[in-house]
């Protein structure tokens, strides 16, 4: 093991150790907050390790043989450490740590045993996500890919007594599995064509133009399907809004900052492979941009603060994917990192609001800025970053994405993304105005969140600003120059969105109801999520359930019927036959004598 490997291994091992400890030692797990402290301590060490790895700029690959075979192992496990995974390590450990600290207060009213369970899942999730980030090959990535999916399921269904949460958990699991089926098929096809799962081997082959496999576009498309499910791309995005049934910190960590970005990370990681198939890249860009726009329109009509943020996440994931599809994977990854920070901030701030007022409905909040100014400030910071206002983090990454898409001559996706930028500013400021300003609603005394929750909020807000300032000072570091008119355009779009939201929800100059009436068909569709959920439900009811009923009928009446007839016949025959057993010895002697007689006759007549 090289000296560069033990530190990443420590980062990976700490959450796993915490998970094992909590999973095995039941009294510790049931003690609640103490279990949380174990998990938080492990995450703090992991964060320190990740920061060291990042600052020192470790690069290297360490692998161990996993599936031995003649002529070298079929698959290896290991750690691939490079700038990409280093940055991701810091993001994952940082957001995990802050979310876990935040959860101590947010879930403080939970029963100790439930809280311990929560932290056990959290540790397992951190371990899985870090393993995914460090994976040096497709196979290890897939294993951890599924593990984060499992953790997502467990944490969405954390309040499993609630039917809605249980349903949402199952839905998230199912729909991401749809994509994962494509992912595993793609991986296996790629392996059977090249004989390796390792990224470095595959990249070398790609560079030597030794990857001229027939059907490579299909293979890469199948692999991309995994990202479609995980990163909530159209048409598999329907699970993410429902995943908001989980606790808010979970939404912040898994469904905004880390797990859902795994798809983007995978595409970024395997970019040399995707670069070989321009048609798939174009598809990725179009689907990404379309997802961004579609989700943004749905966010504009949503009244649940967490769902607005969820649609916003889907929308921003679309941004990242569009960038990756346009060949600007770096821009997409930058947006992933900055988005991870400010979206976690937004979710945690929304959590603080929900904690204070006890509802998710923004129209039952209002005027909260006076009651909770600190939360209000950080929420506005997050909103500005998401809307793309300089010099906050989101501005630069969003501009890099737009520039990358423009450079790739993808006019259609570029226009969709530009429109999305406008809508993003609009729906976020809509939430801000309705929730924090506007008329206060009677009932309840909203209060500022405890410092355990405020601390992470302030830290994330500070980081959002700091990263933005740093990007402003040193430049986004993109490979190509963006057109000069791009920055004014994106600022203009954000300002237009802000102005529209202000006019509609703060000033009251434009009546939202009349706008909705004016755009009635769009409003109708967006409120019904473009009928996709209904479509899936319909497909499920009409197709899968009907098919299952048919199978059930065949099993019950045809298969079981044949068996029932056979058993009835056997029983009857047995009933008849048993009567020849009279139990009287003389009857048997009759039988023997008659048999002997027959034998004699047979011998006399035929055995000449």
């Amino acid at each position: 093991m090289s000296s560069n490997a033990w530190l990443p291994l420590l980062v990976l091992g700490m959450p796993f150790a915490a998970f094992l400890l909590l999973a095995v030692v039941a009294p510790l797990r049931r003690s609640g907050p103490r279990a949380g402290l174990v998990s938080i301590g492990a995450m703090a060490i992991a964060l320190a390790g990740a920061l060291t790895v990042w600052v020192e700029g470790f690069v290297g690959e360490t692998t161990w043989a996993w599936i031995p075979a003649d002529g070298g192992p079929i698959a290896t496990v290991g750690l691939l450490v490079d700038p990409l995974s280093n940055a991701m390590l810091v993001l994952v450990t940082l957001v995990s740590l802050l979310v876990q600290i935040y959860s101590l207060a947010y879930l403080g009213d939970e029963r100790p045993a439930s809280l311990g369970r929560y932290y056990t899942y959290q540790s397992l999730f951190a371990f899985s996500m870090l393993g995914l980030v460090l994976a040096p090959g497709f196979l290890q990535m897939f294993v951890f890919w599924e593990l984060v999916g499992l953790c997502s399921y467990l944490l969405i269904g954390y309040w499993y007594e609630r039917p809605a949460a249980a349903r949402a958990a199952v839905k998230a699991f199912w729909i991401t599995k749809l994509g994962d089926v494509g992912f595993i098929i793609g991986i296996v096809l790629l392996w059977s064509a090249t004989g390796t799962f390792e990224f470095t081997d595959l990249f070398e082959k790609a560079q030597e133009h030794a990857l001229a496999i027939t059907g490579l576009p299909t293979i890469m498309f199948l692999i991309y399907l995994g990202a479609v499910g995980k990163s909530a791309q159209f048409p598999l995005h329907v699970w993410l809004p429902d995943a908001m049934e989980g606790p808010t910190p979970v939404s912040a960590l898994i469904h905004a900052a880390t797990m859902v970005t795994a798809g983007v990370y995978m595409v970024t990681r395997t970019e040399p492979l995707f670069a070989l198939v321009p048609e798939v890249l174009t598809l990725i860009a179009w689907v990404g941009a379309f997802t961004a726009l579609l989700a943004a329109t749905m966010a504009c009509v949503e009244g649940d603060i967490k769902r607005v943020l969820a649609y916003s996440t889907v929308s921003q994931l679309g941004y990242m994917m569009a960038a990756a599809g346009a060949g600007a994977a770096y821009a997409g990854f930058l947006h992933l990192l900055t988005h991870g920070l400010f979206k976690a901030l937004l979710f945690l701030a929304a959590g603080a609001v929900i904690h204070a007022v006890g509802t998710n409905d923004i129209f039952r909040m209002g005027g909260l800025f006076r009651a909770m100014p600190q939360t209000g400030i950080v929420f506005v910071v997050g909103t500005l970053a998401l809307a793309g206002v300089p010099p906050l983090a989101g501005f630069f990454s969003k501009e890099a994405v737009l520039g990358g898409v423009w450079e790739a001559d993808l006019t259609g996706p570029f226009l969709m993304l530009a429109l999305t930028a406008l809508l993003t500013a609009f729906y976020m400021f809509r939430v801000v105005f309705v929730t924090f300003f506007g008329r206060a609603h009677a009932g309840g005394h909203p209060h500022e969140a405890p410092w355990l929750m405020r601390g992470p909020l302030w830290l994330l807000a500070a980081l959002t600003v700091a990263v933005g300032v740093r990007l402003a000072l040193v430049g986004a570091g993109g490979q190509e120059e963006t057109p000069a008119w791009l920055a004014p355009l994106s600022i203009g779009l954000a300002a237009a969105g802000f102005a529209l939201a202000w006019a509609m929800y703060q000033r009251g100059a434009i009546d939202p109801a009349r706008v909705a009436a004016g755009l009635a068909p769009l409003d109708y569709l967006a409120r019904r999520r473009y009928g996709l959920d209904a479509l899936y439900t319909g497909l499920y009811r009409g197709f899968i359930l009907a098919f299952s009923r048919l199978i059930g009928w065949i099993d019950r009446y045809l298969v079981d019927g044949v068996l029932n007839v056979l058993t009835a016949l056997t029983l009857r025959a047995g009933d008849r036959l048993r009567r020849i057993q009279s139990g009287r010895a003389q009857d048997y002697v009759y039988g023997v004598a008659f048999g002997v007689l027959l034998l004699i006759v047979w011998a006399q007549l035929w055995r000449q």
Partner: protein, 100 residues
């Protein structure tokens, strides 16, 4: 001087009478008697063959058969008495515990 067939016919007759007794007697003791007749029909055959073939093996075999028959009758009668003690009857038709 009668030939071998006469002895064999006698044996067959005795055997048939014995079989008839075994099949038709309702009394367990009667059935045992029938079995005795069948065994002795065999003995007649053995002795006859020994006599006409000049082979002593048949005679020796017959002695064995007689002694084993004695043992068999002793066991058989003991079983009949045991059954009688339990069921108060030795009528074969009513001893049908093995009926299916």
């Amino acid at each position: 001087m009668m030939g071998l067939p006469a002895y064999l016919v006698l044996g067959a007759l005795v055997f048939s009478i014995g079989l008839f007794g075994v099949l038709t007697r309702r009394n367990a003791v009667g059935i045992l008697l029938g079995i005795e007749l069948m065994l002795n029909a065999v003995n007649i055959n053995l002795v006859a063959f020994a006599r006409f073939n000049g082979d002593l093996t048949g005679l020796v075999f017959t002695l064995f058969t007689i002694s084993i028959t004695v043992a068999e009758v002793a066991v058989g009668l003991a079983i009949v008495i045991a059954i009688f003690r339990v069921r108060r009857t030795v009528e074969a038709d009513r001893l049908d515990l093995l009926r299916g």
